[in-house]
Subunit: 193 residues, 2 copies
Amino acid sequence: MPKVETFDRTNVLHNATEVFHKKGYNGTSMQDLVDATGLNRSSIYNSFGSKLGMFMEVLSFYRNNGNKQMGKEIVQNQNALDTLQSIFCWYVTDIIEDKDHKGCLIVNCKSEMVNQEPLIRSFMEQNQEQMMAFLEDVVHNGQMEKIINEDQTATQYALYLYSSIQGLRMTGILNTNKEELENLIHTILSVLK
Amino acid sequence: MPKVETFDRTNVLHNATEVFHKKGYNGTSMQDLVDATGLNRSSIYNSFGSKLGMFMEVLSFYRNNGNKQMGKEIVQNQNALDTLQSIFCWYVTDIIEDKDHKGCLIVNCKSEMVNQEPLIRSFMEQNQEQMMAFLEDVVHNGQMEKIINEDQTATQYALYLYSSIQGLRMTGILNTNKEELENLIHTILSVLK
DNA sequence: TTAATTTTGAAACGTTCATTTCAATAAAAT
DNA sequence: ATTTTATTGAAATGAACGTTTCAAAATTAA
């Protein structure tokens, strides 16, 4: 009977994510991945098919991890505005902890590859869909509770928030001042009040 | 006495910009640049030193062109809010005209290279400084005219606008719906009123 | 132990990478 | 016409690229 996959796939993805995050897709070589994961070159191809195949798994891994971490910040039964506050605060924390100014892997990849690689474009479209749906839901709840104004529809505010998050991610690459970032998210969220 | 540079440097930079914009720095090869510019490989090295050298000139070229174009949109003697409106509208136009979803060369480069290449980091820091100073000035004028509120300082609003612009640039990669984008900038600017 | 299957190591695949070299050609000022 | 410098073309540099190959080693179930 077959020998079973021995290496820790989560650990391998974690290490691969680190390299891709630091160097970008085109800046990362297969040798970089061999070095970072400790996996044999052949094993990478056996398990992930190609560099792009591995990267797609890395993207999902990164997103799932982010969602998991952010989920912890969101307390049940807090109002919609506090939920948004928690989300944005998580981004600020993530920015401040990012000592080497890498930014967000997903945002970086969007700007690097959406116009070049259909698989990436699909991922990003699906990612946007998912985030927009979530944000719209939160805003909608806030509007029902009269905590968020109705100057704009929930959909319109969701796009505003989605755009603001991407802006925050880009800004955080060069600006990691906690007070300035917290003031920034205060300004962003003030629109909804 | 010496033969003088014969090729049209502006035209060469224009063509080089197109390739770098489409493929990103790491995605662009020297062969791509030879093909796009029509210049000989040696001439590129003679005139620009290296791939990075050429890219640095391309970055400045792209920025100067953008500033020039945007300058035309800004009418003299309009109030501060209208100036901001003009600026954001120019971005929307640029997004809509960008049929192949390349996004902004400078934003893309920031996310690809700031943490890898000191020259790029300096460029981006200087670029941010410049934009922030300009935005701060506009906001400050608006506040003097009582057209922009004073809930936040001009500096704080400048960061908010700078961040919003980067967000708009990222959003515009996948979302090119004119009405949605115009509503987005309306929401962004509503904070200042 | 044997049979089945995956992981591993190392080498090689052919291509492309950024950059250099150099002799030949072209143009301007003396 | 001669000198000076730039542009050009084409080839070559050596290293790195993503991917494939394959026999040896390892592991599990029968």
